[in-house]
């Protein structure tokens, strides 16, 4: 029996992405032209992103509550869709350079995006699990996409083994939750006695472990630097922006709907946030490989976001109105962060050169003379990560601080402050190298002026513009994500 059309509308984006994925797969044997696939993938990502508007117009629960199409999922669908779109643009030249097959890459990318979409809209744990697996499994493959590279395959292996390890925890958590509450529908877990059920607590703990791994919260963060470093850089860009956002989305969804979650999780998040911030920033301090440095920094930023989560959980009830600013903080931060990380990794992938050889800081010495615009763009990203004004990152950090102070998490706020100072150090180091160190002769020869294809330049322009725009006029976004009916019901 066919599902109702309204339900189809509500999951249209995922469907579109999947269908285009299938299309790309099917075309692969017949079409040789790379640009064709690129075009197809672009259309696919755009179409799916556009479809999320349709989904938003038909807001409401789909498939008997398995998914929820609301402003929240709309936001995240837009986010992951855009990310995917930009990654496609950035990846083209990379694949060209590394002589890697196009079609499979795009197909996997589309499936992964679909998985994230599911994750963002799911309202039932098993559906969420399927979404998670879709994005994860495609990610495993993408991580190992440079088959002949030792690093790439190793990162794939690590990601795969540990990922499925964590997934097992997540799944076990689902089982326990199911066993204690008799359902996997988040909306049906509001009952009072769950607040006192140990089994439910344990289940939630397991789920937290699984998702904590996905968002790279310390001490689950260990895999991140290795995987990010090993994976092809455009894929790294995707990892740092997409799956993380999706996992955070699911976490938020659970908070908003399951009171027990907010109840149990507060101190866990407090601790995770603190640990993660320090792990990321301290680890990054001594890095000399830019790609790895950015990986560590993304851990740190996950930590900042977790601060906002702690703020949410400290509220009497996750879904309630006074938690709204904290939600907004998370969403806005994810947005700004996604833009920045995408741009940064794109630049890294371009400057990396064939075989990603030029990744060390020294290769960036004197970049400001060789390629002033690239240097400027990278500086904008770094300053945004550092949280300096007129960049989106500044507002993101500002709102998180606000959320933390708002719910009296003063110590956490202070820790975050300390961390952003530590962070400033290594971000500045990159800027310093680019601007204040003259490019030595061998550096010149090693990292000659790298041509930036149009598509890449577009990505850079887009992300920079976005970063600055949201840094000056965050209004629309904020008003959108601050609406009381952000999450349906």
């Amino acid at each position: 029996m066919l599902p109702r059309t309204i339900d189809i509308y509500r999951v249209l984006p995922e469907m579109v992405w999947c269908c285009f994925g299938v299309m790309v797969m099917l075309m692969q044997p017949f079409v040789r032209s790379r640009h064709f696939f690129t075009l197809l993938a672009l259309i696919g990502t755009l179409a799916g992103t556009a479809a999320s508007v349709t989904a938003a117009m038909h807001a409401g629960p789909g498939f008997g509550g398995l998914v929820q199409s609301d402003s929240f999922s709309f936001f995240f669908r837009l986010l992951v869709g855009t990310v995917a779109f930009l990654v496609v643009l950035a990846a083209g030249p990379y694949l060209e350079r590394e002589r890697l097959p196009f079609a499979e890459f795009y197909a996997l990318l589309l499936f992964a995006t679909a998985g994230m979409g599911v994750l963002a809209s799911a309202q039932e744990l098993l559906t969420a699990f399927i979404g998670l697996e879709m994005s994860s499994i495609s990610s495993y493959i993408l991580a190992g996409y440079r088959r002949d590279s030792l690093k790439s395959s190793e990162s794939a292996m690590k990601y795969f083994l540990l990922g499925s390890f964590a997934t097992a925890f997540f799944l076990y958590g689902i089982a326990l939750v199911y066993g204690s509450s008799g359902t996997t529908m988040l909306t049906k877990m509001g009952s009072e006695e769950l607040l006192h059920s140990t089994l439910f607590e344990l289940g939630l703990a397991m789920i937290l472990i699984g998702l904590g791994f996905k968002v790279a919260a310390a001490p689950f963060q260990v895999w991140t630097p290795d995987v990010y470093e090993g994976a092809p850089t455009p894929v790294t860009a995707l990892f740092s922006a997409g799956p993380k956002a999706a996992a955070f989305a699911l976490l938020l969804r659970i908070f908003a709907t399951v009171p027990a979650a907010t109840h149990f999780w507060f101190w866990a998040f407090w601790g995770l946030a603190a640990l993660t911030m320090f792990a990321g920033n301290l680890g990054a301090l001594v890095q000399t490989n830019v790609k790895r440095l950015l990986a560590y920094s993304s851990i740190a930023h996950a930590g900042y976001i977790l601060v906002a989560f702690a703020a949410v959980t400290s509220m009497a009830r996750g879904g309630s109105a006074e938690a709204a600013p904290a939600y907004a903080a998370v969403l806005f931060y994810l947005l700004s962060y996604a833009l920045v990380k995408l741009g940064a990794f794109t630049i890294v992938s371009q400057l990396g050169g064939t075989g990603e050889k030029h990744l060390s800081l020294d290769d960036y010495a004197g970049l400001s003379q060789r390629q002033p615009f690239v240097a400027a763009a990278l500086s904008v990203y770094l300053l945004s990560l550092l949280g300096l004004p007129v960049t989106a990152g500044f507002f993101g950090k500002f709102y998180i601080f606000k959320a933390a102070v708002n719910s009296h998490l003063l110590w956490l706020a202070v820790l975050m402050a300390v961390n952003s100072v530590i962070g400033a150090y290594y971000y500045l180091r990159v800027i310093v190298v680019m601007y204040m160190r003259e490019s030595s002769a061998e550096a010149k020869s090693a990292a000659p002026v790298v041509g930036f294809p149009l598509t890449v330049n577009f990505v850079l322009a887009f992300t920079v513009a976005g970063t600055l725009y949201f840094g000056l006029f965050p209004n629309q976004v904020l008003n959108f994500i601050l609406q009381p009916t952000l999450l349906g019901h």
């Binding site: 607590e201 260990v222 301290l282 680890g283 009296h408």
Partner: protein, 664 residues
Amino acid sequence: MPTHPMLEYLWIITLLPLLGSAVNGLFGAKWPNKIVNGVAIGSTGLSFLCALEAVREFFESGQVLFHKEFFTWIAAGNFRVGFDLQMDQLTVVMVLVVTGVGWLIHIYATGYMAHEGGYYRFFSYLNLFMFFMLILVLAANYVLLFVGWEGVGLSSYLLIGFYFLRKSASDAGKKAFIVNRIGDFGFMLGMFLLFRAFHTLDFQAIFTSSTLQGWPVELGGHLGTLTFACLLIFMGACGKSAQLPLYVWLPDAMEGPTPVSALIHAATMVTAGVYVVARSHILFAHAPTAMLVVAIVGCATAFFAATIGLVQTDIKKVLAYSTVSQLGYMFLACGVGAFSAGIFHLMTHAFFKALLFLAAGSVIHAMGGEQDMNRMGGLSKKIRWTYLTMLTATLAIAGFPPFAGFFSKDSILLSAFQNENGGRSAGYALYGFGLATALLTSFYMFRLIFLTFHGKRRYDEHKVHVHESPRTMLVPLMILAVLSIIGGWLAAPAMLGAGPDYFTKFLQPVFGGSEAAGPEGEVRALELTLAGIAVITALIGVTAAFWLYLKGSGKADSLAKSMWGAYATLLNKYYVDEFYAAMIVKPLLWISTNVLWKTADVAGIDGAVNGIAAGTTAIGDGVRHTQSGNTRSYAVWVVVGALVVMAVIFFWPFGGKPVLGMLR
């Protein structure tokens, strides 16, 4: 056209020298000396004439005090300082002395400096000094006075360091400025205290304020606000007028060209301290303790400096210490309440000490820059005019009637003798020391004369061609000589019993009641006795000098040998400079370098900062090493995380219940 133009435009007096200074300083470099002379002498002479005119108008208008506000300089809250000038009898004396003597010295300098480099610079500085000095004496409030006060310090710094190629010169200049600053530190605090008490710093506003009228006299031993204020101001005076313990800069200041020594370090600037004390006499009148301190310090300085003067061989050094000693007299006078006497001595001293210096300069000029008296002798024939003028001045300072010094010094000793503040005995002690100082004074002055002008010559004919100085130098000498003869006669009548002391009477409106005056009758008797004693003492001094330095040649040296310790001490000025260097300067530098800078700043604070950075990096490296790259370890980390989460969720003391408050 106002009735009293020059009074209305009093600032012109001060401004003329400034103009001269600016013109010379900015454009003088390219001009020939003549024009520079013109500008310098012209501006000062003009301001002298203006001063005369102003004085005339002042007396004509017959007001007790002329006071005019020109513009507000600083205003904040209820604090306001104006560029306000005032004129009263005290000012009149000072202004005339400054402009008059200043002018003469300018004229002299044109001759003396004729062959020096940086001619224009010299006169520019000199005029600048005149400007600030006039501000000082004309100021109508403490702050404006302080402007002049610091300004003269500056110009003295510049002029002492005029030969800046010589390290000793620049050192001396620096020393002078810094030591003065130490005094000014006190002066400023004094002003602050006054403002706290009276909410204003205008002289008249303070002196006539009801607050002050109602102020009880702070009896001996009781340290009230006014006592403190007076002492602080006196600290400033000590710096400026080279009193113990801040006198050390003045002898070194002799590094400057001789006219400078004459003008600044004898006649005018150094007397500023006395002027200030006299100016604030009403305050001092309320603070006997402060008065006593002033008297004691003055007396001590007078004696102390005189002893050093005994053995110095550098002609200018001798004069320098004598200056210090004479200033001590003035403070002694003020201290015992004889302000007019103090000012009187200030005036006469200005005449004869300036003369002494100029004459000495003329000698040096004649000897081609030689300053050591041991290399002079028997010059009286060669440079007769210089000799005569200098002799006059010596007689004056030694206190022989009818020369100026006699009268002024006498009235001081008298007042000291009469002093009751701190008990009769104090008065006698002060008098005693004063008298002793007089003895020493006449001794070392005549020692100077004998060594320089008499006896056989101790210099090499062929090297030094002794010649009389040009007229430009001699004319001022003569004028000053005349002044230092007749200058004292203002006070003569009182002495001769023919009516009152004009000078005191003249200053009456200023010092009014605050003068200590005994009953008429026996005072004159006493005065005459004391005068007699003084003259005798002076004579003893002269004979001693004669006997030691002229009669038998070797006597002085043998005496020196016989009491070597004392002699060496005196010769080395009681090792005061060495003491300061060892006790203050060196330790301060050492502490600043090794403790404050190298230890506290670099090692301590900055070390801590960099240490934090380094520590963080080290920790970062540690964190980094948890990334062993081994999948199994990573899995263990995941397990650790799992345990952490479980532990927090299940065993956290607050049991996950949100606890409000700062704790989180």
